[in-house]
């Protein structure tokens, strides 16, 4: 395992220290509770958006804290959801009385720990809306599994709901647009390699040089099918087929297309793959109205990519274009 780190057990702490050192104008770190919040948090009443999950998926969520997006993030240990105390501290830190939203990816640990945090906060009369993200079409939407994972849609919900909260929408309105985005977004992922959690020191599993994994999630779990490595245009077709079959966008729809790397795939490869995705969308009569390519929802240094499509309406589009200033996403300010 070759990586920039000090002690394997300290990677999350050390990462957060570096992140706030690089973005002092945007971020503050509560080291004791491991809570990252906006530098200007709680400056004025607004609906607060809080998210958290296992670390190792950066920039999710830590890189999305800042004006126009999240108010606070509570990163857990590597691939392990945060604990209730952390979630509570994050929530309290940004509570202005205007309403609270937990953006929760549908992973058992995350759901349980956010659930416990909410139960505890309820004793103090604090109530929180939950927006559940479950956009992963690799998992069947039935009771035979823990349910669809929350993947790339998380970024889109955080950006769009974040913009709604920023302009002063009330709790019901922010929660509604968040749920609408979550409902109209789907993701499918492909992994080319495994990844190496620092404390483990070796890959989670081994793949042959000519194999790839279809339908992986985040956090290093293996995928649904292991198949032969294919050229980019075939991979793009697989990703598109899976996502479109489930999303079923209206003919001629305007789409927000996010193609995220899994951490170890350079942006140039993602753009190459996006070129094939774009060609496929055009062939399907769909319009990529907004495009975001980069390493946004990752699993450490895993190579691979995840395609997320969101069927846009005018309201989402305007909120997507609104200014944002975070470590990982910035425009308009």
């Amino acid at each position: 395992m070759k990586r920039f780190m000090n002690e394997p057990q300290d990677v999350v702490r050390d990462y957060l220290n570096g992140l706030v050192a690089a973005h002092p104008d945007v971020l503050r770190l509560d080291t004791d509770h491991r809570v990252l919040r906006r530098a200007n948090a709680a400056a004025r009443p607004k609906v607060a958006l809080i998210a958290g999950g296992g670390s190792g998926c950066e920039p999710l969520h830590t890189g999305f804290v800042g004006p126009g997006m999240l108010d606070a993030a509570c990163p857990g240990a590597i691939f392990t959801s945060p604990v209730p105390a952390q979630i509570i501290a994050a929530t309290r830190a940004v509570d202005t009385g205007a309403g609270l939203i937990h953006i929760v990816k549908n992973f058992t640990g995350e759901v349980m720990n956010f659930g416990m945090a909410q139960e505890i906060m309820a004793f103090d009369g604090i109530s929180v809306e939950t927006v559940l993200i479950n956009d992963d079409v690799a998992i069947k939407d039935d009771d035979d599994s823990a349910g669809r994972r929350g993947l790339g849609a998380t970024v889109l919900v955080e950006k769009i709901a974040g913009a709604a909260a920023e302009r002063g929408d009330d709790l019901a309105a922010v929660a509604a647009i968040a749920r609408k985005v979550a409902a109209r977004a789907r993701t499918f992922s492909v992994g080319l390699t495994s990844c190496t959690p620092p404390e483990r020191g070796r890959p989670v599993y081994v793949m042959a040089e000519d194999e790839m994994d279809l339908g992986i999630g985040i956090s290093g779990s293996p995928g649904r099918d292991r198949v032969k490595l294919a050229p980019a245009h075939e991979i793009a077709a697989m990703l598109l087929t899976e996502v479109l079959a489930d999303l079923r966008p209206a003919p001629g729809s305007r789409l927000l297309v996010m193609l995220s790397g899994l951490g170890g795939t350079p942006d140039a490869e993602l753009y190459l793959l996006y070129g094939e995705v774009a060609a496929g969308l055009r062939a399907a009569g769909l319009r990529p109205e907004r495009v975001l390519v980069g390493n946004l929802v990752t699993s450490l240094e895993q190579q691979g990519a995840a395609l997320t499509l969101l069927e846009l309406d005018d309201a989402m589009l305007a909120l997507w274009d609104a200014p944002v200033r975070t470590a990982a996403l910035r425009w308009g300010m």
Binding site: A77, F79, T80, V83, G109, S145, A146, Y205, G215
Partner: protein
Amino acid sequence: MASDITTEHLILWLTAFARNVAAGRDGLNELDAATGDADHGTNLYRGTQAFSNMIAQSADHGTPGAFLKAVGLVIVGSVGGSSGALYGTIFLRMAATVGPQVAAIDGTVMANALRAAVQGILDRGRARAGDKTMFDALDPAARAFDGAIASGQGVAAAWQAARIAAEVGAAATAAMRARRGKSSYVGDKSIGIADPGAASVALLIASAAEVMAHI
């Protein structure tokens, strides 16, 4: 009262569990690596380290109920992930059943506490029998403990029965298809290897049986 479980017994239990988790950490991670994210051992180890610190920091840990609650909170506060919530719930539900006042737990109360822990797992995770989770080790263990006490056996014998049931239950998860937790994402590929949470619950029960063998 000689066969009742005191706070001292509970401390020995958790100390033994901490030792077993330290020894079994890599093995639990390997089980998790096969279908999940390879961290179940590391997660539990974070928890057992935290309660080892807690135990070391004070001489007086209060009543059994108070101690179980403290353990539950320490786990919930340090582990994270599915197992943090689930293991935390196991201890918090046991604490609630035992109550803050009693000085020692008799066999019947312990049986009730274990059954409450099982219910806690169900409340949190909505697993069913055969879904390949820690439920499949904890539920048979609680039933075996209960049965032993109901048939007049002592706490030590009840733990032995629970241990065997947990180990058999954990081993049986190998043949199951995961329907809860991260392993459920890989569908049929989860068949053939035991569930890490069931394996660690078997360690938990075995640790109790070990330290309360002569109670």
